[in-house]
Amino acid sequence: MPGLAPSIDDRLLHLDADGTPGLLAVRERGTGRLVFPPPSDADPQLYERVLLPRDGRLWSWTVQRFRPKSPPYAGLETFEPYAVGYVALGDAIIVEGRLTGAPLDGFAIDMKMRLVAEPFALASGEWRTTFAFAPAENQA
C-alpha cells in the first residue's frame, strides 16, 4: 500500500503535508448554503471555497455486498464488501462516503466519525487516494 497516492479527483480533497485530508466544498455567498462536491464551474462571485469540518456523527449506513457494475465502478475485480454511510458534519452538511476503521457490523447511527484519507485500488492495479469516515477514537 502506498504512502499517499494521487487524489482520485483534484477538486475533491485537500491533503496536508502529513496526509491529513480535508473535503473541498463551496459556500454560496448569498445564502450560506454549503455545496459538496463543488461544481467545477462555481462562479467565485457567488461562491467561496471552503474546507468542510472533519468530525461528525453517523447519520445512516449500509454495506455494499456485491461488486458494483463497471463502469462506473473502477475498483478491483476481486471484491470485498465495504460499508458506506452519511455523516452529519457538525451543523454544516451531511456527506456520503465509504466507512472504514471498524468491522462491517461495527457501525451504528450517531457514532462519532472522523474524515480520513483512504487508499483506493483501481482495477489496473494503480492506487488513488479518496476519502472515508472512520469511528473517532473518543466516542464519549
Binding site: I8, F36, S60, P68, K69, P72, I93, I94, E96
Partner: protein, 382 residues
C-alpha cells in the same frame, strides 16, 4: 373542463419475455385494452407513451395503424408512465380531445441499474469509488427510519411476504410463488438491512390505459373509474434522494409528501377515504415509509399496522394488491401505469382471486423514482 374517466386497460405480463421487444409488449397492452373495451385503434384521438430504455413509443403506430393521431413521446425517468397519464389526463380535462390512450413499457437487462455519473451531473469519483448505487440509497433511507421510528427487520420481511402472496393471485405478476418471512430474512444480504427478497428487480412489461371525457365515457357505457387527481411533483429542498453525495443539514419534505398533498387537494378527499392503495415498493422499506409519506399513518405506526395485517387484501387498507414492484418487477416506463391498472381492475370488480372485498370505491396510486420525482393518482369507481 371535463371529468376524466378510465374506460379500458390492458397489460402485458411483467417479468421476462425474450421473444418480444419492449415496444412489442406495449403494442400487446394497447391491443388488449382496445379489445376489452370493444374499441378500434381508429377511435383513439391521441396518445401519450414512453419507455425509459426500450425505444420510442410513437413508433408503435407502424403496428397499430397509421391513423395520423398525435402521439407524444414521454421520457421522464421513473415517472415516465405517470407523466404519460398526466399528459392524457390534462388533454381530456382541457376539452381538446375526448378519447385517448396512455401507454408505458420497458425492458431492462438483468441486475442493478448502472448509471453514468456525468448523466446525473456528478463527478466520476462518485461512481468510480462505488457510491453510485440505488440499492445503497434505499438501504440507508430505511436504516435511519428504522432507528428513528422503531421499525423491525420482521416488518420488512412481512411486507415482502405479503407482496409474494398477492403476486400468486395476479396473472400479470412476475413472481408467482409464495415466499415465507423466514426465507426472506435468510436470503442473501444485498445492502444491510435489505436482503435479496426485499428488493424488486428491473424487468419487463407494458400497460395501456384508455381515457375518456365524461360525455364519451357515458356514451361508451363501459366499466369506468373517474380519475379524480393526477399529480406529478419533483423534489423540494432538503429531501433525501438517490445519488446524493451530500444532503443539506436542514431536512425537508419528500417529493411524495408534496405530490400526495396536491392529489388529495385536487380530489377533495383525504387518506381516510382511500379503500385500496398501490405504493412504490422498490424494496420493503419503501412501502413502509411511503405509507407515512402519503398520509395513511404516522411515522412508526407501520409496525402495528403490518402486524395486524391491515395492509393485506381484506385488511382496512389493502396495499399493493397485485404484489407491487416486489412481485411484478420494475420496468420503469410501465410501473406507474401498472398501479393505476390495478386500481381500475379493483374498482370495477374485475380483480378475481385478489379482489378487495366490500366494493372498494376510491383507489390511490403512488410511484416514486430517481432523481426525486413522485406521481400520485386518485381514482373513483364511476
Amino acid at each position: 373542463m371535463s371529468g376524466v374517466y378510465i374506460v379500458g386497460a390492458g397489460i402485458h405480463p411483467f417479468g421476462r419475455t425474450p421473444e418480444r421487444s419492449g415496444l412489442q409488449q406495449g403494442v400487446v397492452a394497447v391491443r388488449q385494452a382496445l379489445g376489452r373495451a370493444g374499441l378500434d385503434w381508429r377511435d383513439i384521438q391521441f396518445a401519450y407513451g414512453g419507455s425509459d430504455a426500450a425505444g420510442k413509443a410513437d413508433t408503435m403506430v407502424f403496428e397499430l395503424g397509421l391513423t395520423g393521431l398525435p402521439f407524444i413521446n414521454v421520457a421522464n425517468g421513473c415517472a415516465t408512465g405517470g407523466s404519460a397519464m398526466f399528459g392524457a389526463y390534462s388533454t381530456i380535462k382541457s376539452g381538446e380531445f375526448d378519447l385517448g390512450i396512455a401507454v408505458g413499457f420497458d425492458k431492462h437487462p438483468r441486475g442493478a441499474f448502472d448509471p453514468k455519473p456525468a448523466e446525473w451531473g456528478l463527478p466520476d469519483w462518485y461512481g468510480e469509488t462505488g457510491l453510485m448505487l440505488t440499492t445503497q440509497f434505499f438501504a440507508m433511507k430505511i436504516q435511519r427510519y428504522m432507528a428513528m421510528y422503531g421499525i423491525t427487520n420482521g416488518t420488512l420481511a412481512a411486507v415482502a411476504e405479503k407482496a409474494f402472496a398477492n403476486g400468486v393471485l395476479a396473472d400479470h405478476a412476475w413472481r408467482r410463488e409464495p415466499v415465507d418471512a423466514e426465507t426472506i430474512l435468510g436470503s442473501t444480504m444485498v445492502s444491510d438491512p435489505l436482503t435479496k427478497f426485499m428488493f424488486c428487480s428491473p424487468g419487463e412489461g407494458a400497460v395501456a390505459l384508455i381515457l375518456a371525457s365524461e360525455t364519451k365515457a357515458k356514451q361508451l357505457g363501459l366499466p369506468a373509474a373517474r380519475l379524480r387527481a393526477a399529480a406529478v411533483r419533483s423534489r423540494p429542498p432538503g429531501s433525501f434522494e438517490v445519488f446524493s453525495p451530500a444532503l443539506d443539514i436542514d431536512r425537508g419534505p419528500s417529493p411524495t409528501n408534496i405530490a400526495s398533498h396536491a392529489a388529495y387537494d385536487m380530489a377533495g378527499v383525504g387518506p381516510e377515504d382511500i379503500d385500496v392503495a398501490q405504493l412504490q415498493d422498490t424494496e420493503s422499506g419503501a412501502e413502509i415509509m411511503h405509507m407515512a409519506e402519503n398520509g395513511f399513518c404516522a411515522d412508526g405506526e407501520q409496525e402495528a399496522w403490518i402486524a395486524e395485517g391491515r395492509t393485506r387484501i381484506g385488511g382496512t387498507l389493502p396495499v399493493n394488491t397485485d404484489g407491487g414492484c416486489l412481485a411484478c418487477g420494475e420496468p420503469i416506463g410501465a410501473s406507474g401505469l401498472r398501479q393505476v391498472y390495478e386500481n381500475y381492475v379493483q374498482l370495477t370488480g374485475q380483480a378475481g382471486a385478489r379482489q378487495v372485498p366490500g366494493d372498494p370505491r376510491i383507489g390511490y396510486s403512488h410511484v416514486y423514482g430517481a432523481p426525486g420525482v413522485s406521481a400520485v393518482a386518485i381514482v373513483e369507481r364511476a
